[in-house]
């Protein structure tokens, strides 16, 4: 306790002589968020996606995911589709990278075919939803430049408002504005601005829970597209950590027998 008090006192003192720029403060928040979300090693999740068109008609997707944390690079993930039934057994393997192109393979169970696919469609919709591939891929500090804007309150919680500018190629966004919870260092809300700089989508993240006494994960995501009136709800039905996954669980062999 003493050490922390001393340290914060020191920071307050240095703050007088050294003015942190908005960019430095934005980056520092992203680095802290990344640091706090490091070391979970692997996770297995089950999700339900509810797609709504502008008339409110719904369709659902059930998905399972496995992720392996890769230190110093993007994570490896395997996604398996359970419904709709005609795509059951389709599986998606992704090696994400901060600035290099991701490596992606798709398994088509009817043909028993593994297809290497282009990762250039970062701005394309994931499973027909309002989530783009870039929204669901692993978040690395190097993927964006940052700028701290202000402090704000959302639903009574203190947040930092920071702007993020994608640095990877083929992003559909010029800018994202994130409301980062000061206690969890997780976003409560993100606004996405398209290539024409107009507001495209708003994401809100709800029902956060802490796992392994450290890692915060949301239970529900709501993505609303302001330009089309469509929306998608993403419900996380379970998170399981410490599965003991290895690199071998994320290769083309495991993709072919993914269930």
């Amino acid at each position: 306790m003493k050490g922390i008090i001393l340290l914060s006192g020191l920071l307050a003192f240095t703050g007088v002589t050294y003015a942190e720029t908005a960019e430095e403060k934005g980056l520092a928040i992203a680095v802290e968020a990344d640091k706090r979300d490091t070391g979970w090693r692997d996770q297995a999740t089950t999700m339900k996606m509810i797609l709504r068109n502008s008339q409110g008609a719904e369709s659902t997707r059930e998905i399972r995911g496995k992720t392996l944390e890769v230190k110093g690079d993007g994570d490896k993930s395997l996604t398996i589709f359970d419904t709709p039934r005609d795509v059951k057994g389709t599986a998606f393997l992704s090696f994400t990278h901060a600035l290099k192109s991701d490596e992606q393979w798709l398994y088509l169970p009817a043909l028993k075919r593994v297809k290497r696919i282009s990762s250039s469609n970062k701005s394309g919709p994931f499973m027909g939803s309002e989530f783009a591939y870039e929204d669901i891929s692993s978040q690395e500090v190097e993927k964006y430049k940052y700028k701290y804007i202000k402090d704000d309150k959302i639903n009574g919680r203190d947040t930092f408002v920071i702007e993020q500018y994608p640095q990877y190629k083929k992003s559909g966004y010029t800018r994202m504005v994130a409301w980062v919870d000061k206690e969890m260092y997780q976003p409560l809300k993100i606004e996405f601005y398209d290539r024409k700089k107009s507001l495209l989508k708003t994401l809100t993240q709800h029902d956060y829970k802490q796992y392994l006494n450290k890692y915060w994960r949301p239970g529900r995501l709501e993505m609303v597209n302001h330009q089309t009136g469509k929306s998608t709800t993403l419900l996380w039905q379970s998170y399981k950590f410490k599965n003991g996954f290895r690199k071998r669980d994320f290769d083309k062999n495991s993709l072919k027998r993914a269930r």
């Binding site: 696919i117 250039s120 394309g124 269930r259």
Partner: protein
């Protein structure tokens, strides 16, 4: 007297049902299909409308924390008029054992090798179920023992294939058949072991950065028969399929560079005292989010080559395939694939359209059309189907 097998069976069932993850899982589909031909066929296959129903259930059972699993996929189709198309097959009946750095599979399975879209030269493990579809994408289940060694330098798959499956062919009452028809009741084999000849295959596959590479070797009965003109049991003219012994070396390669997919398949085949090369190579380029929408458009171009030239048994010896793929990326996965394969030596063209769309949560509509155009040469491998342009509508229920 029968007690021992019962006990063994019960013991087997109890080990299978203990600590299971995905147990006793059924899925699959039932589909209604109709094929409409725009011209009358050669009697007795003169009908212009054919209806059929197919079913393909799948039973999957997993135990031993997912290290072992069992899959059973039977398939059956009943056709209103076509006796040969009324057929059934075991697509899959196999057991899988996953080890730390290897995988063992025993049973009937389907395996796909390759990268190109217009034809699949390297892909050799499974026989084509030609009565299902003319495009050669449907395959018969192949009995095998397959051991995969998984290394940092790639995966090596070894295959022992103890039983040969004959190709299915449209019968005398079928559209899309040769003239005369292929009499499958009396095939010719080069090997004295006939369909019991044991075939072997090995494949190394690896991904290195942007490159996906596969190198394969096959030694066994060719899946692709030659034909001998003769008579059937009723004394009518018929082709007899002749299955020769084949040694094939195959290479498949794909480079994935941003929106470009560069593809190559190359085979060297040694068959019936002839040695030849065949290849398919080209690219697919995708435009993402076209016209301010979520849709993607892909352009495909592939060159199809066979160095036997006009003596080739395939229609694709010096041909160019141009394709257009459209994916709406909407909630119904609406998609369309248009392709044309043009022979660069004559006027023959093969047009193909495939479209699909999900309806609700469990139904799917598939539309396929094929047009055989400009086939005037009587020696052309597709000459006998030049009147068989068709459109096929299929409505499937998935469970």
């Amino acid at each position: 007297m029968n007690k021992l097998p019962t006990i063994v069976f019960l013991a087997f069932v109890s080990t299978m049902t203990s600590s299971l993850v995905y147990s006793n899982e059924w899925s699959g589909n039932i589909a209604l299909e109709t094929r409409l031909f725009n011209k009358e066929g050669v009697p007795p296959a003169e009908y212009q409308q054919y209806g059929s129903v197919s079913i393909q259930p799948e039973w999957y059972h997993e135990w031993d924390s997912g290290k072992q699993s069992f899959t059973f996929v039977p398939f059956a189709r009943w056709d209103q008029r076509d006796d040969e198309r009324t057929h059934s097959d075991i697509r899959e009946l196999s057991w899988l054992r996953v080890f730390a750095e290897s995988e063992l599979r025993i049973g009937v399975r389907k395996v796909f090798w390759g990268v190109t879209e217009s034809q699949h030269l390297v892909d050799i493990i499974n026989q084509t179920d030609l009565v299902e579809n003319t495009d050669g994408e449907d395959k018969l289940g192949q009995p095998m023992i397959n051991y995969a060694f998984i290394n940092d330098w790639g995966t090596v798959d070894l295959f022992v294939l103890p039983y040969f499956r004959e190709r299915t062919f449209p019968g005398v009452n079928s559209r899309l058949r040769t003239e005369p028809y292929v009499d499958t009741s009396n095939p010719v084999y080069e090997s004295n072991d006939k369909e019991k000849h044991i075939d072997y295959a090995v494949r190394w596959a690896h991904s290195i950065g942007d490159w996906d590479i596969g190198l394969s070797y096959f030694d066994g009965t060719s899946r692709d028969p030659s034909f001998i003109l003769g008579l059937d049991s009723s004394g009518n003219p018929a082709f007899r399929p002749a299955y020769y012994q084949l040694q094939q070396v195959g290479l498949d390669l794909q480079a994935t560079r941003e929106a470009w997919l560069w593809k190559l398949e190359l085979v060297n085949r040694d068959i019936n005292s002839e040695n030849y090369n065949a290849s398919t190579f080209g690219f697919e380029y995708s435009f993402y989010g076209v016209f301010d929408s979520a849709s993607d458009i892909g352009l495909i171009m592939e060159y199809l080559y066979d160095d036997r030239d006009q003596a080739a048994t395939t229609p694709f010896q010096d041909d160019l395939m141009l394709g257009l793929r459209w994916a709406s990326n909407d909630e119904n996965d609406t998609s369309l694939l248009f392709g044309v394969i043009s022979d660069l030596d004559d006027s023959s063209r093969l047009y193909s359209v495939e479209a699909s769309r999900r309806i609700g949560e469990s139904w799917k509509l598939n539309i396929e059309a094929r047009i055989f155009s400009g086939i005037d040469d009587t020696t052309h491998p597709l000459y006998s189907v030049r009147q068989d342009d068709f459109i096929q509508l299929e409505l499937g229920y998935y469970f």
